[in-house]
Assembly symmetry: C2
Homo-oligomer: 426 residues x 2
């Protein structure tokens, strides 16, 4: 086993961060001299060609064999000479939201390649496939997780007819990228995969507030999205006394304070009213109608279902109190997904062995790992997001946290390689 | 004195309502066969020519001399053969909001002409000038009460440079209507006016809820318009636990419930948050910034000032509690205007003598009478608004209430003519 000093891992952490910033310059937005860099890189747009070229070079330099599958995932395979057992899948996505940061997604790909290097330096007999997923964010098309669904073999091919803002179908975007959409089923992974690990920035403030570099992800919270409409009566702001009003916004305000209390008093629940539209939205007219979104998330589906029910009951009670009507609709409902307990506990043990507290947190955001979890044992490692900032140019990651992820990887890979070989020998 | 039966006044009420509906067809919106009528008639737009033609004919039929002043007010003077003393000014506005009802403004002009007829039938020696104000609503230009300001001699001529949505200056709109803007100062009334009376629909629900046809207006409530901005921190709806949020909308909701309580617990105060804008207004992002309007009105300027101060303090306290910032700005501040006590009490006495309860209420909306009150004794008579509806095609007025306004007018005019003659003879 090659010995790696802490200094080497710290240097590589700095290099990984620099590489993410380099990739961030591969953007649909033109690079301007005077202005800060804007990164927007949607599914199979021109800058993806540059990212593939860069990553292909990196993979080939590591001795990996590289190909692009039919959904546009760049896939590199490290097959060690002494390979035994199944391969480990590592990866994350390379598409971004508009005006994104440099680390969401990309960092997971760059660190996957560093993990390959760590495996090589330890002469581990572990085959590793690194996947740079082409689509996760759901920005170019009204669908997300195209790539991980293709790998899991769960992509509904009907979505290929969806069009982007320019009227281009997914199928045509794939062809324009030089790929054959009829080969998508062949992108699905075979049974020779021992598990999937994804490294990703937390995108939330928990680790930053707690002063921790890393967390193992328990699972992805279940999520319900609802729409509520309070219907009152628009009227003149000057001529309608308070006791004769049916103010839709005043009713919504009362309900919003109750939703916030519900979430604050329910451990692990987050409730967000992020969108609000008012009719007629004029300073001198009492609001007649208010539309609100409600986003509820929790790791326990039962708790989530109860929160949903209470949100609806509170809306109905508030409306009834005030002589208003309320309508509601459930827009989406996703059950929670638990990460694989065995793989997660290996990851937590490696975090601890590397000298860091083995914190475990749920993820409130969706990730490719939740799609792959239906197919292979999957686990995730979060890196602290300073300030909790993501999806914004100010998104950063600390060198010391990337160093921690590399140290964790060295130990984790070594242990998993051992148990992988052992299970083959059995 | 000619004797008028109740039946005659009821028939004239029905005719007045029909006349308002006829005038409502004179609209900027094209009349379509299959669709309900839409009435939009802004300052000096083409349908105003039709309204002037109609009203000029009506005035001339009553033996009035008619002219259009330089701000576009159609003015008819009834000078009885036996005239003594000063003239009474009657009027209201003929411009409308977009997609308006048929009675707001116009009813006051139509009933003013009916009052002239009632004076004539009683051979009263009272000169009466009826003014159809060209501009009150502030819709075409970002200014309102152009007409009453011109009559009161308080029009700031700088406003003539303001432009409408098509870039047309007020001054050019006046010229295009065939008028000479340099003559606006001559539109101001002379000192030979004993007072101004305006009949108008209530535009609120008070009379309807109390089952009353008429009210004398105490005055126009003072009004403060403010803008508030709560500044928190936008963040991911899934990854940010409740205790780490600085949700601008949650803060605003708490504040909104406090504003509603303040108004409900302050006799005569109305507080309206009618406009709300959210950043970024996305279902999965915690709101980072919320802008809200606050409209406060009260007849007592001291109570209004205290309410304003409390609104600001509550916003500051809510923001401080939650680690947010709040900014506020006072956009407008109009003191309350009392109607003339003597003229109002004559009006109330006439209401009672006509057989109706002499209800007195403040007006939360602005009216031409509040501008003229600075120049001549002014009073207003409200007619019930069924359902409190105004500024909407469903706006109506009851025949029996118009009948009540005519009966009141007959008595009021007779009494005022007597005291007017008496004061001249003194």
């Amino acid at each position: 086993m090659t010995s790696l000093s802490a200094t080497t891992e710290r240097i590589r952490a700095a290099e990984a961060i620099a590489e993410c910033r380099l990739i961030a310059s591969m953007s649909e937005e033109p690079v301007r001299n005077q202005e800060p860099l804007q990164t927007t890189r949607r599914f199979l747009t021109p800058p993806v060609v540059s990212v593939h070229a860069h990553l292909r070079t990196r993979m080939q330099a590591l001795g990996m064999s590289v190909h692009t599958d039919a959904i546009g995932n760049l896939r590199g395979l490290w097959q060690p000479p002494n390979a035994t057992g199944k391969r480990l899948l590592l990866g994350s996505h390379i598409d971004t939201v508009p005006n994104a940061g440099a680390f969401d997604g990309v960092l997971g790909v760059v660190l996957a390649l560093e993990w390959v290097r760590l495996a090589q330096e330890q002469n581990l007999p572990l085959p590793i496939e690194v996947v740079a997923f082409s689509e996760e964010e759901g920005v170019r098309y009204p669908v997300s997780f195209l790539s991980s669904h293709a790998l899991a073999g769960t992509l509904d091919l009907k979505v290929l007819d969806l069009v982007d803002a320019d009227g281009i179908r997914i199928e045509d975007a794939i062809r324009a990228f030089g790929l054959d959409p009829s080969q998508i089923p062949a992108a699905a992974i075979d049974s020779n995969v021992l598990g999937y690990i994804e490294l990703h920035i937390e995108q939330g403030p928990v680790l930053d507030v707690e002063g921790l570099p890393l967390a193992v992800v328990e699972g992805i919270a279940g999520q319900s999205r609802l729409g509520f409409r309070f219907i009152g009566h628009a009227n003149h702001a000057g001529t309608t006394p308070m006791h004769l009003r049916r103010d839709a916004l005043a009713a919504a305000a009362t309900w919003m304070t109750e939703i916030e209390s519900l979430a604050r008093n329910t451990e692990g629940l987050v409730a967000t009213i992020g969108k609000l539209t008012l009719e007629p939205n004029a300073t001198n007219v009492i609001p007649g109608c208010v539309d609100l979104s409600l986003d509820l998330r929790h790791m326990n589906d039962q708790v989530l279902a109860e929160a949903l029910q209470q949100s609806v009951q509170k809306a109905q009670a508030t409306a009834a109190d005030r002589g208003l009507q309320v309508e509601w609709i459930q827009k989406t409902s996703e059950p929670s997904i638990r990460m694989d307990p065995a793989l997660s506990s290996e990851l937590a043990a490696a975090v601890q062995a590397a000298g860091y507290p083995p914190r475990s947190i749920p993820s409130g955001a969706g990730h490719d790992a939740m799609i792959l979890a239906h197919r292979v044992p999957s686990a995730m490692l979060f890196l602290r997001s300073p300030g909790g900032i993501s999806h914004h140019p100010d998104e950063t990651v600390l060198e010391e946290d990337v160093e921690a992820a590399l140290k964790t990887g060295r130990i984790f890979l070594s242990r998993i390689a051992k148990s992988n070989s052992a299970s083959v020998l059995k």
